[in-house]
């Protein structure tokens, strides 16, 4: 068989992404039809920049979901090596494809180990989409839980927490990654202990949030708190405890799921690097908002301090926080890529974009196709997130 021409390659890739296009069109049709009822999300569809950004982001979200756990878009297994296809150009036919009933072409060529570049790129999107938003949520939980009191109370607490935040920010990120993610440090269990500390913040956040709102109605609060805390606590303990590692609090029959060691370490270090910046943003917003009249009104009513922080200040800080959330997911994606680029944390055969770029760059002067697709994929996702943030900022400033 002849290798495919570029036109045919593009057409085949387009068809391969079929489910993604359908999902995208459905999302856009529904959102535009109901955009007046959807609040800030609906307003996003008034700005061209915001829509382009949203489309880019959702493209990769759908590609990740369909390609990752559902196995739909990928043409080959991300780890299978087909002999004879090492570093072959895009569109190369796979020998013996008909007998084995596999996809007959390597659409974007083969990499240094004769694996399919296209499938690895799609699989890699799942690594990013699964880690980056969740890690950002955790960083926000930590930043909000510490930043609100620091800004609201001020004083010694603020000085201490700001010092800690500046301390972490003064570290060069890559040095921090090298210190936290090397296998020797992982052996000592320090990342697991850090996970135990960092992951408790969502629990604290949820508990304080509910308690401050409903503490006058114990009949609603107590069952709700127990329910939420049991579920969250079980998730928390299952995440951090792993049979045979340094932290094994839960017996095996209660341990719901295990996070693979490498992923957990990467996750922890990304949250750790991001939370001081979120802390600083939340702190400065709290400093600004606490002088407003509605905060003074709440203080006069005799509301508790946590109620004021979480139910008066936080909702009014949501605009800048949502915008920063989008930007920060992009930044987290870049950080994940950096980790992969230095070969830290994730296993070397992992299809994530950073690792693939790192592998591809070694032969870059001769073969472009293994390194460029993941690089462009990462670029388009981060660009989408930045455009989305820009659109959201514009639309939230409008009213």
């Amino acid at each position: 068989m002849e290798p495919l021409s570029w036109g045919a390659i593009i057409l085949r890739i387009f068809l391969q992404f079929g489910p993604v296009w359908i999902a995208l069109i459905a999302t856009f049709a529904l959102s535009i039809a109901y955009k007046r009822k959807l609040g800030l999300y609906g307003k996003l569809f008034d700005s061209t920049i915001g829509m382009i950004g949203f489309a880019l982001v959702m493209f990769w979200v759908f590609a990740a979901i369909f390609g990752g756990p559902l196995d739909m878009i990928v043409t080959h297994d991300a780890l299978t090596q087909v002999s004879g296809l090492k570093n072959k150009v895009p569109g190369i036919p796979v020998p013996g494809a008909q007998e084995n009933e596999i996809y007959p072409y390597y659409l974007l060529g083969g990499d240094n180990l004769a694996r399919d570049v296209f499938s690895r790129m799609v699989k890699g999107s799942w690594v990013v989409i699964a880690i980056a938003p969740l890690a950002t949520v955790f960083a926000f939980m930590v930043g909000i839980t510490l930043g609100l009191p620091a800004g609201y109370y001020g004083g010694k607490l603020d000085t201490f927490l700001s010092f800690l935040a500046n301390l972490i920010l003064a570290f060069p990120v890559i040095l921090l990654f090298y210190l936290l993610v090397t296998p020797e440090i992982v052996d000592t269990g320090i990342p697991s202990y850090m996970a135990a500390v960092l992951f408790i913040f969502p629990l604290i956040f949820a508990a304080v949030l509910l308690n401050s709102r409903y503490h006058t109605q114990p009949r609603i609060r107590t069952p709700m708190m127990i329910g939420v805390l049991v579920v969250l606590g079980w998730i928390y303990l299952s995440t951090i405890s792993e049979v045979g590692s340094k932290i094994a609090v839960l017996p095996a029959y209660l341990d719901g799921f295990d996070v693979p060691g490498g992923i957990l370490v990467v996750f922890v270090s990304v949250v750790f690097v991001n939370s001081p910046t979120v802390f600083r943003i939340v702190r400065s917003l709290a400093l600004d908002i606490k002088t407003r009249d509605y905060v003074a009104a709440a203080q006069t009513r005799g509301e508790g301090t946590w109620y004021i922080m979480l139910w008066e200040i936080l909702p009014n800080a949501r605009g800048p926080l949502i915008v920063d959330f989008c930007l920060r997911i992009g930044y987290t994606t870049i950080l994940l890529g950096t980790l992969g680029f230095f070969g830290l944390g994730l296993p070397p055969e992992s299809p994530d974009w950073g690792s693939t770029i790192n592998e591809g760059r070694k032969l870059l002067s001769i073969y472009l196709h293994p390194a460029l697709p993941p690089a462009l994929a990462l670029l388009s996702l981060v660009l989408g997130l930045n455009l989305l943030a820009d659109g959201l900022r514009e639309e939230s400033l409008r009213d």
């Binding site: 010092f163 500046n166 301390l167 920010l169 003064a170 570290f171 060069p172 990120v173 890559i174 040095l175 090298y178 210190l179 936290l180 090397t182 020797e184 440090i185 052996d187 000592t188 320090i190 992009g330 870049i334 890529g337 950096t338 680029f341 230095f342 950073g354 770029i357 790192n358 591809g360 760059r361 870059l364 002067s365 001769i366 073969y367 472009l368 390194a371 460029l372 690089a375 462009l376 990462l378 670029l379 981060v382 660009l383 997130l385 930045n386 455009l387 820009d390």
Partner: protein, 348 residues
Amino acid sequence: MSLFILRRLGVMILTALCLTFIVFFLTNLYPNLEKLAKTQGNFRMTDEQVESYLGKNGYLQPTPIKYAQWLGVWPGYQYSAEDGTVTGRCIERDMTPEDAPRFCGVLQGDWGQSTVFKDEVSTIVAKRLGLTGWLMLCVMLVMVPGALIIGVLAGMKEGSRTDRSLSTVSILTTATPEYVSGVIFIAIFSSSAVGLKWFKGTATSAMDDITFGNFFLPVMTIALYGMGYIARMTRASMTEVMTAQYIRTARLKGVSFPAIVMKHALRNALIAPFTVIMLQIPWLLNGVVIVETLFNYKGFGWTLVQAAGNNDIELLLGVSVVSVVVVLVTQLISDIGYVYLNPRIRIS
């Protein structure tokens, strides 16, 4: 003002102490020491051999004491072998134990030995920092004027076509991390697959002799990533200034548009970007690490990766002290500069 600077200096020293202690603690954990022993000796060492190697070199003392020795406030470690020879931290090769100083740490100007490069940490850091200095200088020369021009042009008339297109360009550059833009640049401009071959894909030769061909790509790769952010900040501050009352007054008086921009708007619009530029320097450090690895330019960032990858404790400490000082000094300069540039704060 002097009190402010003194307080900041105090915080700086405290931060540097805390950070180096963290680095010290993490690099001195036993698995890391074991790795160090095996790379220094051989990989087939038994556990006892590792133990005796570490003991002989003073790695098995309690961490705070080792840290104090590194700092130079605790007498240096000494080890007497069975045949009577005494070795120790402060004893150089051609020195008798009696002549050796009691303290030898950072405070005495002794930064220790690198185990990877087999050289004094201070000489390595100085040499590598010099190389990176050239890179940073070129980056600054490209990035700062470029970003300011883009930002001012975009912010001059908000919502115009120039604004839209320049803003999109700056968003694009902030969305392109160095390892992506570097790979794309190498692919387009230096690979034999595309065939342009305008520039060199490595900057190794730039360590001895900087030319346009071998230095352009690394400089552009770092500069582009920082440029977008500074340009957006400049644009924001410029649009804010352009809507101010005194600009409207000037327009109504009939001052020409270029004169308004050059004489009235620019000075006030450039206060905010100054802070941003200073605060970008620590971020450039990250870019430097990536770009030096990618282009194989053996500067400070490359040294950091080598030291961290091989658990070279004293070199790593030297590197982190330097980078922490860079971060904190730029913060200090940006604070002082902000006060100095802004007449409203300066006079009151």
